[in-house]
Amino acid sequence: MKPNKLIFLAVLLRVFFAALFYHPDIKSQYYQSGFFTQGVINIYSYISQNKSQLPYTDTFNYPPLVYFFLGSWHKVATVIAGPDLTAWLSDWGSRALFHPNIFLNLLVLKFPYLIAEIYLLKILINFGRSEDEKSKIKWLWLFNPFVFYCVYAIGQFDILPSLTTVVALNMAIKKQFTRSALVLGLGAALKTYPILLLPIVVFSNSGWKKRLVTLAAGLLVMFIPMLPFLGSTEFRASVLGSSLGQRIFASGFTVSDQRVIFFVVAYVILVANYAKKPEQRLILPSFTAVTLLIILLSQFHIQWLVWLLPFFTLFISRSRQFLTFSLFIFFSALGLNLLLKDQFVAIGLFSALNPHLGTIPPLVAFVTPPPDLTLFSSIIRSTLVAFGLLFIKEMYDVKS
């Protein structure tokens, strides 16, 4: 079997999944970002003020940089796919899935993810410490079913912040800490979570002056695109009100009238330990541990698994002992999401191929009367947390 033939198959699979699988989030994101090409800068206020005339009225819940990026690509995509693309994005009627060019539209809208993924893999391969490891990283990534599912079937833009964390990791390992912080800030301007990795980079630096500069660099890049919008009530309600923070601060228990938040406890221990012991400053395990903790201790979306994929790929390429943990973590996470009332994480993904499948209720709705899945979900969540913590322990054990 020639490797080039395999690479062609891997590319074919990507294009196939990108064109044929549909989740409504990609449509809503590009529909709303399309207003950027019409000169709308504050999308948050615009939606609020024009709700009665818009066919899709949900708020735009992402930071401004996402709006500018997707809006710019929307303009380019219209040139490739034709003006029909905008018509489809604006069609929120019951016949929208019967559009004649839906495959073309989906493929063109997902182009940026195809490019981001190649670049991510290129950097990731360079983390291999031997030819064998590099080869494992390459093939593990190219044929990872979670890449096809999360990046191309679900089609969210999480591959972009994920790419920034890998670039930042690469720079931090090369001791380019300020550059690394800048890239993390850029990632955090797309999705908040990369900013949680910033303390790792900051404390990797020596001397408080350098640390402050690194911290400021990351925070500035994150906040600069948001500055013009901070005065907007709609922006604060849509972005800050529905941010990652709301989800990761949810898990905990109450002491008196305050809450002990699990994520904050784990995060502070991890960062404090990192800052205190220079001999144990392991950047890759620390990046992985923080990202994993977010998934373990929050009400995550299935596409957030993309944040973990690069780090897990590296660990599995180094030792098979991580494979079992990774499989349990990813399948538990998938199981949790399939129990959600969102038909588009499973059967609905096929609705571009057969629009009638978009009307089929989520998997849990097939059981009548609807079962109480709380206990079942809790068991899956507990499994996820247990294997996640074991993964973190193994990472540090291997390195120490």
């Binding site: 690479i7 891997a10 590319v11 074919l12 890759l284 089929i360």
Partner: protein, 226 residues
Amino acid sequence: MSNLKTLYFLGLTYLIVPVIILIFLTVFAVKRIPDSSQEISERLVPITRTHPVTQSIIPVNNGFNTVVIYLRNKMLLNTDPLIFYLTDTQNQVLRQLTISGRNIGDGETIRFQFPPLSDSAGKLYTIRLEAPQTNFGSNIIEAGFSNSDTYPEGSSQDIQETGDLSFQFFYRPESKLVLLQNLFSRFVSQTLSVRFLVVFPVTLVVLYFLYLKFLQSGKSHIPADR
């Protein structure tokens, strides 16, 4: 080399399994297909004890089994029962469903699904929505209506009403073979569009060469950890 062969078969599995799932779902999971609709909702008409909402309709296909109606339960305050009737020309009730106001949101489409009517194509029926415990002036459920006659096949039975109820109909497919034929013809029509025939192969070739270039230029790297 054998590992690469395994990967090749794994990759082929990723291509084949979705196709099998798609065919399976198309044959066994599709229970309703869009029939006709009137989706314009320009104003809201109250449904109360003394004012039911009625609309005559003519489904296009046999197997009529679902009506989706735009309803609004303002501030989610109404918790009264809402009864859906489907009657024939003799005013005989063919299907009846009762839902609670608790299940109706502040402006959303509500699905009324019932056992299919096997010979519904082209026949005249009437939809009636009643709220027997809701008085006018209290917290009411409202139905979306158009301002003008946007559904010429039927009309509201209320003589003062000029518009039509906002609805979508669905039917249960009679033949699995027709579903598969539709699936195939849709796939062919989507992939045979001129732009797709250009964009798809160009994307494939460009990405392939990008991958070859990027993946074969891995530089030896610094140690990956400190």
